[in-house]
């Protein structure tokens, strides 16, 4: 026990003496949280649109006005033919093209329905669907307005049957603030990256320098060694996590509907898993470079499959099963459940327990793998 104390003391002395590293590990998460929280969004701002209006009537002009009136579209070009469409899309001058064919007004008046074509540049994919839904909703609103105001030929304009009253309600995150959703997850990712990188290269570094051999000759046990490597970084990561939470609250106003204690419980268990993983990586690599690479590779896979950027529910079944073995997934889920939805112990108890068990398992792996002597 005393041995562990002395080893932990040494780690702290080393960490805080290295100014650049301390700077990095405290600053990088902060800066990145501030930048990334603002960047990580699929929100679509003004969409550049080109309208090809072959009808050129008051009704079609009215549609164009409606499009320009909202903040979602900016009609950059208004053409009578579709000659320039391909080039405009290819050159990324516009993202969407609305083609209003001839007889637009006439069709509406005569038959009560008219077609239009919408072409979207879907090279950036995620937004295409959103842009489409914006356009559709504007078109739908215009159609309803015309329904009331446009004089129609159809004699048999029957009294409308009862309309559908579909009331929609969003639960949790009433302000639809995407940041409230992303910031908790970003905190996890940043803490994870720093923590894993630090522990992964720690042991290999001592190995490269020769101090590891010296330690191995002492009566220090494997358990004492791993514990002493774990504790300082565990505390440090919790500190980084707390800083992140503070920024989240002060700068982004993230909700904290549930009990923060649950969040910290999860964080403590989670960090044991992640740092233990880093230590284990340290025991299977020979150079710092290898350690960083393996760690980086692992981080990336874990982060991508954790539901951080894209929902786990959207993944195919097999990926969802695989995600169950991903500690990041569970921690992110707990964070979001507690902070955004206000979930309690009944919901998050199991994942936290799972993290705890995983943590013990990973540490056992690291201890088992570590050798004081070469066979």
């Amino acid at each position: 026990m005393r041995t562990v104390f002395f080893l932990v003391r040494k780690e702290f002395l080393q960490i805080f003496r290295d100014r650049t590293t301390v700077f990095q590990i405290l600053l990088i998460p902060v800066v990145q949280l501030l930048v990334l929280a603002n960047a990580a969004t699929f929100d679509v701002k003004q969409v550049a649109m080109m309208v090809v209006d072959e009808d050129r009537t008051t009704v079609s002009a009215g549609l164009v006005q409606r499009l320009e009136g909202g903040r979602q579209f900016r009609v950059l070009r208004y053409e009578p033919t579709d000659a320039g469409v391909d080039h405009a899309l290819l050159d990324r001058e516009v993202t969407a093209v609305l083609h209003i064919p001839r007889h637009f007004e006439e069709d509406l008046v005569r038959r009560g329905r008219a077609p239009v074509q919408l072409v979207l540049n879907s090279e950036e994919g995620a937004t295409a669907g959103i842009v489409q839904s914006y356009a559709l909703s504007i078109l739908g609103a215009y159609a309803r307005e015309l329904d009331r105001t446009l004089p129609r030929l159809e004699a048999t304009r029957t009294a409308r049957v009862a309309p559908l009253d579909l009331r929609t309600q969003r639960w949790f995150n009433p302000t639809r603030n995407y940041k409230h959703w992303m910031v908790p997850a970003l905190m996890v990712s940043l803490t994870t990256i720093i923590g894993l990188l630090l522990t992964a290269q720690n042991i290999t570094r001592e190995n490269e320098l020769g101090t590891l051999e010296q330690l191995n000759v002492t009566p220090m046990t494997k358990v004492q060694f791993i514990a002493a490597k774990l504790i300082p970084f565990w505390l440090l990561s919790l500190l980084i996590f707390t800083i992140g939470l503070t920024i989240g609250k002060l700068v982004f106003g993230i909700p904290m509907r549930g009990n923060l204690l649950l969040v910290y419980l999860a964080a403590m268990a989670y960090l044991v898993v992640v740092l233990g993983l880093g230590l284990w990586i340290s025991t299977i690599t020979r150079t710092q470079q290898q350690a960083m690479f393996v760690a980086f590779f692992v981080i990336l896979i874990f982060l991508l499959m954790s539901g951080l950027f894209t929902p786990v529910d959207s993944m195919p079944r097999w990926a969802q099963y695989a995600a169950e073995a991903n500690p990041v997934k569970h921690f992110v889920a707990v964070m979001r459940a507690v902070l955004v939805r206000g979930a309690g112990l009944e919901t998050v108890g199991r994942p936290i327990l799972g993290l705890g068990v995983a943590g013990i398992g990973v540490l056992a792996l690291a201890v088992g793998r570590y050798r004081k002597s070469v066979a």
Partner: protein, 367 residues
């Protein structure tokens, strides 16, 4: 010249012998493609929806069947009251709930207005909106069929998604992956390689040798250029064979631009290595300082148009951003140099800038 080649050979052997790193560098692109193609999706499917049906009848059964038939939803429970719904929303087992009115069949028959409530888990505003949209569309469609709506004016929209008609996930991300993988391989490896040489002291030995410093850097960097090309090819092969990602433009142009970008990233790696005092700092700087911005600010996952203005400006200095436009242009749109010359020029400019800064920094460090 011979000394230089010998040096290149030494670096290559060094790289080849490091089995672990090599395996990861080769495995990395392939795994990435697979993950992005299969697992990273922004679309929503299989939504867990609960239905509250106080008085089940023909009409409600009809609607429930409609919803069950759609593969976007799966009904996790049909109850007669909203009890327990709150808890299930909270623990995430239910993402949406549709509350039906009483005596729906009779109301429809009498021509009364129908009032339904759709509750959606809005913690993630994006998927919340998407789920809400889908559910609304199904209910709307059902209503229009059950209650014929003659005479309501409709604008029928046909939409086409150009360049990526099915919004295939892989098509979206693979071009970005090429950029991402190259950035990591080139910049990271270079930064590490050079700082490691410095840390172990062998750099000084090399400087005393008759090889010129420029040649040293070049020699260090050549194996990674080759590795970069191999990575690009791996990504492309994986993308095409597994996901049918198109390559509508010229392969030669793609490889040429990739070559340019590899050098850009390598030059950036050199710059990083000159600024970092040791390996660990170089790695953290390269990973945290390069990887995340590349992922987030280059348009790889999150569209640049969605970024707030200041970040959009920041993205102009991320080399990957420009390369991404080029790759997407060539692969998805079949664009040629005529369309892409501006972006190419920007990359060339950045490369020269990095090379100048890098070599000057190295000269100071070593000289």
């Amino acid at each position: 010249m011979r000394a230089f080649l010998g040096f290149v050979r030494k670096e290559t052997l060094h790289l080849l012998r490091d089995r672990q790193t090599l395996a990861i560098l080769l495995l990395f692109p392939v795994v990435q493609v697979l993950i992005f193609g299969f697992a990273v999706r922004t679309d929503v499917e299989d939504v867990a929806i609960a239905i509250v049906d106080p008085t089940p009848d023909v009409a409600t059964l009809n609607l429930r069947e409609r919803i069950a038939a759609s593969d976007r939803f799966h009904i996790v429970g049909v109850t007669t009251s909203t009890r327990g719904l709150d808890a299930r929303f909270r623990d995430g087992s239910v993402r949406q709930a549709l509350l039906l009115p009483t005596d729906m069949e009779r109301r429809i028959g009498r021509g009364d207005s129908l009032s339904l409530q759709l509750l959606t888990d809005g913690s993630d505003p994006n998927t919340g909106g998407i789920m809400q949209g889908y559910a609304t569309a199904i209910v709307d469609r059902w209503y229009r069929e059950v209650v014929p709506q003659r005479g309501v004016l409709r604008i029928e929209t046909q939409s086409r998604m150009r360049y990526n008609p099915t919004l295939e996930s892989a098509h979206l991300f693979v071009p970005g992956l090429v950029a991402f993988v190259l950035t990591i391989v080139s910049a990271l490896m270079t930064a590490i390689s050079i700082s490691r040489e410095r840390e172990t002291g062998t750099m000084e030995m090399l400087l005393v040798s008759p090889i010129r410093p420029v040649a040293i850097v070049a020699g260090k960097v050549i194996p990674y250029i080759v590795l970069g090309f191999v990575s690009v090819l791996l990504v492309l092969v994986a993308a095409r064979t597994v996901f049918d990602v198109p390559l509508r433009g010229s392969l030669v142009l793609l490889l040429a631009e990739s070559g340019l970008y590899i050098i850009t990233a390598l030059a950036l790696g050199v710059v990083i290595s000159t600024k970092a005092p040791n390996q660990r700092t170089a790695m953290i700087a390269a990973l945290a300082g390069l990887m995340l911005p590349t992922m987030i600010l280059s348009g790889f996952i999150f569209p640049i148009d969605s970024l707030p203005r200041p970040l959009q400006l920041l993205s102009y200095i991320v080399p990957a951003r420009w390369f991404l436009v080029i790759v997407r242009g060539i692969m998805l749109k079949g664009a040629g140099l005529a369309t892409l010359w501006q972006e190419t020029l920007v990359l060339v400019g950045m490369t020269l800038l990095f090379l100048v800064r890098g070599s000057r920094g190295l000269a100071i460090r070593l000289g």
